[in-house]
């Protein structure tokens, strides 16, 4: 029923948004720039900001950049203003605002904001730490978002990403501890997450229960089960059941010596490298293979897919299971990469951020992965800023991904449209 209402709203709004000129992008950029300028005017933060581009152990040691904070911030603001001007011109010419302009805008304001926030701090703001930590925090989000994209493309909304991550983390901790092998933990996490996906499929595809209900309830179920067994089994037997061996970092020769990028991207664990492979693989599978075409067909118009002979239910089951398996990699990240033990509800809402990344990424694997990285970055920004002693309350930084998603969903950051049959069960007539 909800899906239908969404549809009607979408169709109802369609004729209105056909208007050739949309000023949404300009308005959005303008509002952000105005807020930025207000921040600089109302809370000037004199001093100099120190950006450390490398650590002393890196192959190429770059010197720390010291800049006057307010001047840098204002210069960055001017760059932003130029982009807004460009956007106005482009919109007047009835052409879309180019993506690179928006990226430039975001980058300029970010650098300016960092300069402002780090002003006067005796500590260096580590750029490598900021970016590297962001990649680390983004791993479960990206895997979760990829799994979510696969499911939704096949027409099954996956609210249970949180539960899948948690189940994966839990089982990876137990199996990884018992076998002393992170690989076994990884495989177990994938299986556990796929198992949750199987239950999701059973109830939503076979029994046609509302997908959102099943997702929400599965989250509660997994939280309950893992917390129960955590107290009953893992806490008393922490030595044997809850102490994993973690994956070692696997620096890639030569590439890891590139300044900044090297330590951020090429000195990571295998799970992180697999993430980049997975993003490309999911994109390829969805848009360049027969399987992907079928998945998208059953997600957009299951009846038509059925008419041409695709087994809709089987295609959906397969997609949901594969999606669940992908999420499992993210779950394993918690207990065999990040730290070496399981903790109660340790995913702490990452599944919901992943869900937000799915929507923010417009149900596209590449964009969803980028959205996951962005959210990871926002979370890590808060960590890094608290180290240098930022004037912004940490709670507002933590709130940022959710606010961004709210704006995205409300259509202020470009229109997003879900796969047409997402959220509805299919009954063969």
């Amino acid at each position: 029923m909800t899906a239908t209402t969404v549809d009607t709203a979408g169709h109802g709004a369609a004729p209105r948004t056909v208007a050739p000129v949309t000023w949404k992008a300009v308005i959005g950029l303008g509002v952000v720039l105005a807020l930025y300028a207000l921040l600089l005017l109302l809370a000037p933060h004199e001093g100099s900001a120190r950006f450390a581009l490398s650590t002393s152990t890196d192959f190429v040691v770059l010197s720390t950049i010291v800049v006057p904070a307010m001047a840098t911030a204002w210069v960055c603001g001017v760059v932003g203003l130029v982009v807004v001007g460009l956007a106005v011109l482009r919109t007047r010419a009835r052409r879309p605002v180019p993506v690179w302009a928006v990226a430039l805008f975001a980058a300029a304001l970010l650098v300016g904001f960092l300069a402002w926030a780090a002003a006067g701090s005796p500590r260096d703001l580590s750029v490598v730490g900021l970016l590297g930590g962001a990649v680390g925090l983004a791993v479960p989000l990206v895997y979760g978002a990829l799994g979510g994209v696969i499911g939704e493309r096949a027409g099954v909304v996956n609210i249970a990403i949180e539960g899948q991550l948690l189940a994966g983390a839990f089982v990876a901790a137990i199996v990884g501890s018992l076998t002393n092998s992170p690989w076994a933990g990884l495989v177990a996490a994938v299986l556990a997450s796929a198992l949750v996906a199987l239950v999701l499929g059973l109830f939503t595809i076979t029994y046609r229960v509302n997908q959102v209900i099943v997702g929400v309830v599965l989250n509660v179920l997994v939280i309950g089960l893992t917390s129960f067994f955590y107290s009953e089994l893992l806490v008393p037997n922490a030595e044997t059941l809850n102490t994993t061996v973690r994956f070692e970092r696997l620096p890639i020769p030569l590439l890891e010596r590139i300044p900044i990028i090297g330590p951020v991207l090429f000195n990571q664990t295998i799970v992180v490298y697999l993430m980049f492979v997975a993003v490309a693989a999911v994109w390829f599978a969805l848009f360049r293979t027969r399987w992907g075409l079928r998945v998208r067909a059953v997600g957009e118009h299951p009846k038509a897919a059925d008419t041409v002979g695709i087994d809709v239910l089987r295609a959906r089951y397969r997609a949901v299971l594969i999606g669940g398996a992908v999420v499992g990699f993210g779950g394993a990240f918690y207990t065999v990469v990040s730290i070496n033990q399981f903790g109660r509800e340790m995913t702490a809402g990452a599944g919901f951020i992943a869900l937000a990344a799915v929507i923010f990424g417009k149900w596209d694997p590449l964009r969803a992965a980028l959205a996951g990285l962005l959210f990871g970055f926002a979370t890590n920004l808060q960590n890094v800023l608290s180290v240098v002693g930022s004037p912004v309350p940490s709670q507002f930084m933590l709130m940022l991904p959710y606010l961004v998603t709210l704006f995205a969903v409300a259509g202020l950051v470009g229109k997003s449209r879900a796969p047409a049959a997402s959220g509805t069960a299919y009954t063969k007539e």
Binding site: M1, T2, T4, T5, V6, T8, A9, G10, G12, A13, I159, F203, T204, Y207, R208, V209, N210, V212, I213, V214, V216, V217, L218, V220, L221, I223, G224, L225, S227, F228, F229, S231, E232, L233, G349, F352, L355, A356, I359, P393, Q395, F396, L398, M399, Y402, L403, T405, L406, V409, A410, G411, A418, T424, A425, T427
Partner: protein, 464 residues
Amino acid sequence: MSGETPGRRPDSPPDNPLDEALETVDPAAEPGLAEELEQEAAREQAPTVEESGERWRDALRRATSGGWAVALGAIVLAVLAGSVLIVVTDEDVIAAAPYFFSRPSDTFAAIGQAVGGAYSALFQGAVYNFGADSFAQGIRPLTQTLTNATPLIAAGLGVALAFRAGLFNIGGQGQMLMAATAAGWIGFGVTGLPFPWHMLLCLVAGVAAGALWAGIAGLLKARTGAHEVIVTIMLNYVAFYLLSYFLATPGLMQAPGSANPKTPPMQDSAVLPPLLGDRYNLHWGFVLSLLAVVGVWWLLNRSSTGFAFRAVGENPKAARVAGIDVPRTTVLVMLVAGGLVGLAGTQQVLGTVTTGFSADIDAGIGFDAITVALLGGSSPWGVLGAGILFGGFKAGGSAMQAAQGIPIEIVLVVQSLIVLFIAAPPLVRAIFRLPQPERSPRRRDSRAARRRADAARGTEEGQA
């Protein structure tokens, strides 16, 4: 179909807005819409029991294929699953299991003891404590159950109301937190107001805050089509961090002279008075919840606003045809639903936790409310029953944890399983071998045929 309308039982109310919409649609003019309405109507009527002549067999079939049998079956299944969890982690059972084949009686005795002890503790913690010295002491667990049920009922009503209008209110947590923020801030911050007025002001502020927070989701949905599930989930986090900020900032909500993210205690003039005297925790919030049940029942079943809510929930297209302003109704539904959830948040601050609260004041009730609404079949009286049941689980779960050392999370498992099974009646019926209600293809066919005939006649008339 049950899969599409959240939490609705198959037995639809007699005044079905669909039928009315069907009357108003001209199949010749709008064949697509008419067809959709027909399909909706067919789905609505699908799970009816075929008449088979014999009255008693019919009655039995009706009873066993009805919603109550499924609910009972779901509870039995969930409790069984909970027992399994208790058994596999019980030390005595694990100790006796290795020599199961030589002396199975030991294992069974251990199993019996573990399960019996657990559920006995659950019952004594939720209903009546037989070990107590006096009746007043013994009945204490029941009052605790009702105390727990108070916010569950209010929040469950909010979720159920939204369900009936076809909206998912996953944002109970955020709405409760904002309500607690507003009510709590006035509760400890405003001084000099006498008793009933201060409390009433807090109540109004809390309910309004919850309503506005949910109203954001309703407005976004109505204006931009943003899916309310995503919006409410995001608003949960925004509310959490907003309250965390207030609590961590001296001068805002943090208790003076304290470094903890916690508010000062509520003033006596703002607190909901105890209902049964100071001996019990039960407060007047429970009466408010009962009033809310009656209010929501009246709203849904006796008012034209409620009729519009249900019509939009059944079929927004048909509702639009019938002249209902769907976007306006959507906003209104979320406002009322948020207000009810806000009532739950207010009850928490003014009744249950009056000594100052932190950012976990919602205690998971926002999410429990979803399960309460689903178990209650989205009807006000059902929510009342489900709220009391889950309140009992909560009270009994704590007692079980204290007495038997079984983690309280088992309650989460049992609750979620209940809802999962209830949402899939065919599964429960298959497990218990209850009769599956047959679809009635004949009726659907005849309706479709009649519609085709009507449409054909319409075009003929048009040509003539």
